[in-house]
Symmetry: C2
Subunit: 326 residues, 2 copies
């Protein structure tokens, strides 16, 4: 099993991530072996494992650190993330993810619906097996609930051309940012008893998540020519407008608005044109500045963490997320 | 809000069920009010509330009974049931349920996917808020996991014409029976500390669930003429074969098998013919006998419960499930 090369510089963390994936392998059990393989394949498809990595890193502070419990938590976070991806793929009718066929396209939406549901329950099983107290559980379930509520609210905002940056930020704060916040917060809670400390970590995670999602949306507009227009095409057809487009619409209202109104009739060449207009109107640049703002907010709070090697890793990877190219 | 008339004879229980639904109303919160209304509407659409009723009834035994905690549990059980129904409707592309438009057909599968997911997390929130111990949580999450695993395994069995009664029983024991078993078991655990007692209740619930599902499948074949063929049509097109058809296939192999092989091309008139063949081959009668067997098993175990008025209600409703007509 391959762990993403971004962790090569941190061999200890890499080993922990490997054990986390092995734990997941042990916990996922489906009688139908084909479906089990599909789920495990998705869990091992070379994602960055950022969320479990942050959970592991934030569990290192404080006195009550247990590596075993931290791994369980990291596994639960990654499983939660994966189950939301499996369900996202149903909604988006996505045929591929990370260059592999999605569960919904390969096995049908029936398998995708129940596989995601099943993983949800595995998340809770792992959490309750390793929770020290009912309070631990409550903290995690509240975090998970916010993530799903974020998704429900996102629905509301589709095809809303006058969507503001505020709407966009609300949207991504509901889902991506909450998941990162949950990873950092529950990691911190695992290692330390101090709630104020964990709360600080919650905000760190939230800022990281915001920066991460904005950069993800920026990357859709700066893809290599081979993929040009493709991710943009899927989003705009479904009425999903992200930071670059929203910023661009402030400057270049007419032609861009005309193209977007075609909605599901938007063609590949329309999408390329949209991409070009967005770039030229400075949408990409402004979105990058916005991402940077969140990264800086996160880094400022990270500064207050105890001076350990884990703190340094957190700093490095958080900075690197901003300059990544995929 | 209407509580199903089947509870009119038990005013105290009816009042508890009403409070359970009110609790659910309080716990479900979605910013998008249209979606919230859709979810609450589904939760109040006049279902029989059998699962929460059993949870409430079984919580009455033992010394540590807390009405408030029992209601939370009952609410969680009903929410879990509803979330699986919302997701089932995506899989089955069902347009109506209990004579109302399904969430997936009214709001699209995006809303249905996330609404079901959201309700899952509400289940866990309620459970963790009212759990006395982490062990309580583990018990409930394990039960929930079995339900979802049952669904994943069911996928495997579609279009399997040589499906045996054993396959069928495995299938329904995974989903429906587990949910009833969980209702009775966790109800019992709530009121009593004795695990052996709760284990007995688990089996009672499981037998009740088996009888209930078999009768549900029987009713598809004994519908009034107005609906003749309709539920059967949907099932056989999707390759879902239930007890009446499986028993009938033992007697009448040729014509029935020929019709079933048409799969998604099965017409309304084919379905009526299937229904007729199944009836004439004794499939309905044999399925009823099978349901009766499970009811008897349940009643035998119910006999061992402490002699209270709740025991009597459990006996009555369990017997009545067998002779219901809808």
């Amino acid at each position: 099993m391959q762990i993403h090369p971004m962790w090569d510089s941190y061999p200890e963390l890499k080993a922990e991530l490997k054990e986390t994936i092995e734990l997941i392998n042990k916990e996922v059990f489906v009688r139908n072996k084909e479906i089990e393989a599909a789920i495990l394949d998705m869990l091992q498809s070379g994602g960055k494992l950022l969320r479990p990595a942050y959970a592991l890193l934030f569990s290192s502070f404080g006195d009550s650190h247990s590596p075993e419990r931290a791994r369980s938590l990291a596994a639960a976070i990654e499983l939660l993330h994966t189950s939301t991806l499996i369900h996202d793929d149903i909604v988006d009718e996505a045929s591929t993810r990370r260059k592999k066929q999605t569960i919904q396209s390969k096995y049908g939406k029936d398998v995708a619906v129940y596989a995601g549901d099943y993983l949800f329950t595995v998340v809770f099983r792992i959490l309750s097996k390793h929770a020290d107290s009912v309070e631990d559980m409550t903290v995690n379930t509240k975090g998970m609930e916010r993530i799903l509520m974020g998704e429900l609210n996102q629905m509301h905002l589709r095809y809303k051309q006058n969507m503001s940056i505020r709407d966009y930020l609300t949207q991504i704060s509901g889902k991506t940012a909450q998941l990162f916040a949950l990873a950092c917060f529950s990691g911190a809670m695992e290692g330390s008893d101090k709630k104020s400390f964990a709360r600080n970590c919650y905000y760190i995670g939230s800022h990281i998540g915001m920066a991460f999602q904005i950069m993800d949306d920026v990357l859709d507009y700066t893809q290599s020519s081979k993929n040009l227009g493709k991710p943009v095409l899927e989003d705009v057809r479904q009425g999903i407008y992200t930071a670059p487009i929203i910023f661009a619409l402030r400057k270049e209202k007419k032609e861009l608005a005309y193209l977007l109104k075609k909605e599901s009739a938007i063609t590949q060449s329309d999408a390329q044109k949209i991409q070009q207009i967005v770039y030229e109107a400075g949408g990409v640049k402004e979105a990058k500045i916005l991402a940077e703002k969140y990264t800086k907010k996160a880094l400022k709070r990270i500064e207050s963490l105890p001076n350990t090697k884990e703190k340094q890793i957190i700093q490095e990877i958080t900075e690197n997320l901003l300059i990544r190219e995929m």
